[in-house]
Symmetry: C2
Subunit: 177 residues, 2 copies
Amino acid sequence: MTMKDLHPILQRFILHWGEMGTRWGLNRTVAQIHALLYLSPKPLNAEEISAVLGVSRSNVSTSLKELQTWGIVRVVHIPGDRRDYYETISDVWEMFKIILSERKRRELDPTLALLRSSVEELEKSSLDESVKERVLEIADFFESIDGAYQKLHKMPTGAIRRLVKLGDRVLRALGVI
Amino acid sequence: MTMKDLHPILQRFILHWGEMGTRWGLNRTVAQIHALLYLSPKPLNAEEISAVLGVSRSNVSTSLKELQTWGIVRVVHIPGDRRDYYETISDVWEMFKIILSERKRRELDPTLALLRSSVEELEKSSLDESVKERVLEIADFFESIDGAYQKLHKMPTGAIRRLVKLGDRVLRALGVI
DNA sequence: CTATAATTTCAGTGTTGACAGAAATTACTG
DNA sequence: CAGTAATTTCTGTCAACACTGAAATTATAG
């Protein structure tokens, strides 16, 4: 079983996902494996993944481990077969909620920490008022985004789906537009 | 003028920004220049930027061009000086709105295009119903995110700020939680 | 307990993207 | 229309990260 045996639509999807993966901060193979598992109607073992994607067995192993630490992929077992089989969680919204939290951890949290400590030191510093102002502004921005994320994170996926799909009418009623 | 002459708070900020830049999909120098300009009370010329950050003049030139194409940095002129001076836009929310649109263009739009064409081809394909289902689900997800982005993008920054800062009470009233 | 299948770790290799410095171009000034 | 300052483009080098294949480890079956 190799890539060529897959339906062209699936091929394109997997290749594209790998390509985009690099832009999303993951590596190509990790993203491709994820795409393959997402599209596969049944769990796959590492050997099969390696064969279909044409990447080394060891690379698959490392990538699967990464996907598992995120909680996006889990191991399942097939009776009478000692190999590990893998599948992704199926709810897309749940999946992206996990991805979002991973990205927040890597892309927001470190900056938030820095800004908080900067703001503390700011008072006892001799910096220009205008410069202090700018640091405070960006700190406030990050705090706001963090706050919005926290609220989002606490919601069940159903609520998130509804929020994301909120219509203009509601936004107007809220007075935000 | 070099990095050492800057207040430690500013040094840390610039270094950190550069480091995070790589995680945000930009390169370190681009992000550092942006941080420096954001913190600087007055516009800077390329030579000054090069000296402070300790990177080559050519690298500064390329990076500034990139920041300009995004519309985050603009050229200003100082009477009696033929050099170009650079400054960032000052409104943080406006700034991140621009950054968000850039990221959407690179990280969402290509996938959205792929999924739309996939969904079209899906009907005349012989794929398993379960597989079709999965493709449709992820396509719907990306369409929803795109829709939410469009609405956000049309709002003035003030409205975005209010939306991001929405309290739990409002969310509950909306029935999303 | 031994043999073998499955998985993981590791060291070397390849690939990609950032960067410096040089060369070229553009834009001023007298 | 020189001559020089400022900026940009280009090419080779370097560093960071992904990947392979081999070796080591772990798990299972007889």
